[in-house]
């Protein structure tokens, strides 16, 4: 296709997960012409199959500002996308199972307060048992983030897509970005079907984002992972908030209909070129044992489904977010390391500001892509000493 026949836009977004769709919507709200390109279908990957946890709780300090901004949007999500996305606000609770764990939480709390963050609240055993009566008597306390909750991932991603489309964004399902080339002051993005040209490009390609970065000569140490989840049949209602056990890699959420979602970080094996994940039942058994230990009533629950999603993880477990270090007009939005669903609404809003104005007041410096190159340089100069 010749340059003249290529579709043009103000911004081309690669990837139709919650991040791509949220950026598409927010860019449209700023009046930018948007084309979003998705190789499978919108919501097919991490954004459609994740645990739906909407949490600020227990995040790395570097991403808390983005997370807090996102949380504000979640609380008015229906205004933004015309769908409540199944968002509920029952809070999330991090349980300390031992005094040692509690001591660590107290230390973190001091750090957070010193930096002015107030969303996490230390709770004692009494408040913990009021919030989560089913948890073992021996747990000495924990942390609650009361504005947190959960939403329905596929529905939420679709809602962003629909609203973006309703506002005029062009969304191309089933088209894969193969190549990106500089053409004058613009970027030419070649898919397996067509060519698109725009001055700005957002790389929101999830677990494949390193390949997009590589096309731009900007390699990143992205690890492809496959976090696993299990869901049970209906159980009598016994727990309201999302519960997280840090020490034992467990997250636990009961829905209104009684079904219980069990996650927490055990991983299967991703085959990203085939869009396949392989479950590791021996590790799911470890999750099951933890649940059976902590919530004995769950022993008779039936496991109805288990699955995994394909996700990008960075070595420091925080995302890559902001301008490219090599390619003018390109922005990265990936590497959410198994906790990027909550960040979707806020990241899209900040990204649209970056794309439209070139800057933002949101502190995102720690998320820049250059950190990996700087680290590598720092390491190799250490080696030489």
């Amino acid at each position: 296709m010749s340059g003249a026949g290529a579709a043009t836009a103000d911004v081309i977004i690669i990837g139709g997960g919650i991040h791509g769709c949220s950026s598409a919507l927010h860019c449209r709200l700023r009046g930018l012409d948007v084309v979003l390109i998705e190789k499978d279908h919108v919501g097919r990957h991490a954004s459609g199959v994740n645990a739906g946890g909407v949490r600020q709780l227990a995040r790395d300090i570097a991403e808390i500002p983005l997370s807090v901004h996102s949380m504000d949007i979640w609380h008015r999500i229906e205004e933004l996308v015309d769908d409540d996305c199944g968002f509920t606000n029952e809070g999330q609770v991090l349980v300390a199972e031992t005094q040692a764990e509690l001591a660590l939480l107290k230390k973190r709390m001091r750090d957070l307060r010193a930096k002015g963050f107030t969303h996490e609240e230390l709770i004692d055993a009494a408040e913990l048992h009021r919030l989560v009566p089913a948890v073992a008597e021996s747990c000495p306390g924990g942390v609650v983030s009361r504005r947190d909750g959960a939403a329905i991932p596929f529905r939420a991603t679709q809602a962003f897509r629909r609203k973006a489309e309703a506002l005029g964004a062009v969304i191309r399902d089933g088209e894969r970005v193969m190549e990106i080339r500089r053409e004058g002051t613009s970027w030419a993005v070649f898919t397996d079907r067509a060519k698109y040209v725009a001055p700005k490009v957002i790389n929101a390609a999830g677990a494949w984002a390193d390949r997009i970065a590589a096309m731009l000569g900007e390699p990143v140490p992205l690890e492809v992972i496959a976090p696993m989840l299990m869901i049970t049949g209906r159980m009598p209602a016994f727990i309201k908030p999302v519960v997280i056990l840090r020490g034992r890699k467990l997250s636990f959420k009961q829905f209104d209909n009684g079904t219980v979602l069990i996650g927490g970080g055990h991983r299967g094996v991703p085959l990203r070129d085939e869009n396949i994940t392989v479950l590791d039942w021996a590790k799911l058994a470890v999750s099951a044992r933890t649940v059976a230990d902590v919530f004995p009533i769950m022993r008779t629950a039936h496991i109805l489904r288990a699955w995994a999603g394909i996700e990008a993880r960075m070595p420091d477990e925080i995302p890559v977010f902001g301008a490219s270090g090599t390619s003018e007009g390109v922005y990265h939005q990936f590497g959410f390391s198994a906790h990027g669903f909550q960040l979707g609404p806020g990241a899209g809003s900040v990204m649209s500001e970056l794309v439209a104005t070139g800057h933002t007041n949101m502190p995102i410096h720690a998320l820049r892509i250059e950190r990996f190159r700087e680290n590598a340089v720092a390491r190799s100069s250490e080696d030489m000493e």
Binding site: G43, G48, I152, F154, R155, Q158, R162, M230, T232, G233, R248, K249, N257, H266, R267, V269, L271, I276, V278, L279, D280, W281, A282, K283, L284, A285, V286, A288, R289, V291, A292, M298, R299, T300, A301, H302, I303, L304, R305, A306, W307
Partner: protein
Amino acid sequence: MKTIAAIEAFADRYDLAIVGAGPAGLAAASLAVAHGVDVVVLDENASPGGQIYRAVTSTPMTRREILGEDYWRGVELVQEFSGSASSYAPSTTVWNVARGLDGDSLGRDFEIGVSLRGKARLLRAKEVILATGAQERPFPIPGWTLPGVMTAGAAQIALKSSGLVPDGHLVLAGTGPLLYLVAAQLIEAGASIRALLDTTPRANWMSALTATPGFLASPYLAKGLALLRMVHRRLDVVGGITALRAEGQKRLNRVAFERAGRRTELDCDLLLLHQGIVPSINLSNAIGCAHDWDDVQLAFRPQVDAWFASTVQGVAIAGDSAGIAGGESAAARGRIAALGAAFRLERIGAGQRDRDAAPLRAELALLARGRRFLDVFHRPAKAFRVPSDDATLVCRCEEVSAKTIRETVMLGACGPNQMKAFTRCGMGPCQGRLCGLTVTEMITDARAVSPAEVGYYRLRPPVKPVTLAEIAALPQTADAEKAVAR
């Protein structure tokens, strides 16, 4: 045959795991073992025989004429299997089959999740044959979820395995050879049947005869006619039914039906519904085998090659789970699949494989004659596959109505997986068995595209529910321990 009665009695690995002890599974096992393959047959039922020969060695219904001569043919298959060196695990649920992991990468062997008497275990096998048979096609009419309405197949299971003859007044409704077979078996067993309401569309006669003049020479004709005559002689058979409705407050009191534009009611205590059987594809779907839409049988069936090998290397699919063709054909197909597996396992060469398969293929060709007539003749009417009544429940587990499904298509759910995400249909304990085809066909109808394009639910393991305690008790591996530590 080595019977496995406790989870600890399984070996860690087998050459070949066969899921299902119906005619396909039994025949495949006997032949594979004869070629020196180490086989385990896994089956949910307490005794071998599958659906068609269910409980053939243990049924209390020992008067041969009740269940019919075809049923007793199963004895031979079971005897051959019992005399073989195969391992046999009855009362065993297979809840997952997938390529296993070798450390952190995909291995060559399959990992099979089984559970027996409340305990689970992961087995390994080099090859797998799925012989999981068929299931009844969903029959979503208004009121089909009322107590007192069940499938004819379920009534037959009760009759075969426990000798249970239903009390009260019965009505049977639907289409398909099995409906008439169950009617005949229930008549012989002394049930009180008020009527058989036949929903076979009138036009099917013509299309079937023109499609397959060869039927007149087929082995099914004589058998089928004898059955039809017997049922017609002893029962009130009402043909040309165009609408059905199960009615009652807390449970079924009557069935209402329409015929030539006239509505009639019939009081009854039990309504047995049946409109044919379709391949049971839950396992092959969860494994990731490719499936095709069969426009005559109106169902998805796995793509298989001449050895019944699926598109996933190492997985073969035999018997009705590869496409409906009946019990005798299932046994022949099981044997061919076994030859394929024995070859891949290097127990026999290509020459022997092909020689031994030749007579089986000839038998299959013979059995296939006239089969198409049955398929075309018993093609259920659209009215009974795509419910037009808004209130009719499509997904029983999550209580999703026909109205909701139609509205959700309008909202943009263009396939069953999106439908699942929007409405939760198909997400209950039955794993979509009771609504999958209906949902595909309803979306097809609303979008005016082909079922092949709409597709089916992408199913996730476990394909049969297993308890958390069972998973928790899976034997621990060193790898998993490490995973927790890191």
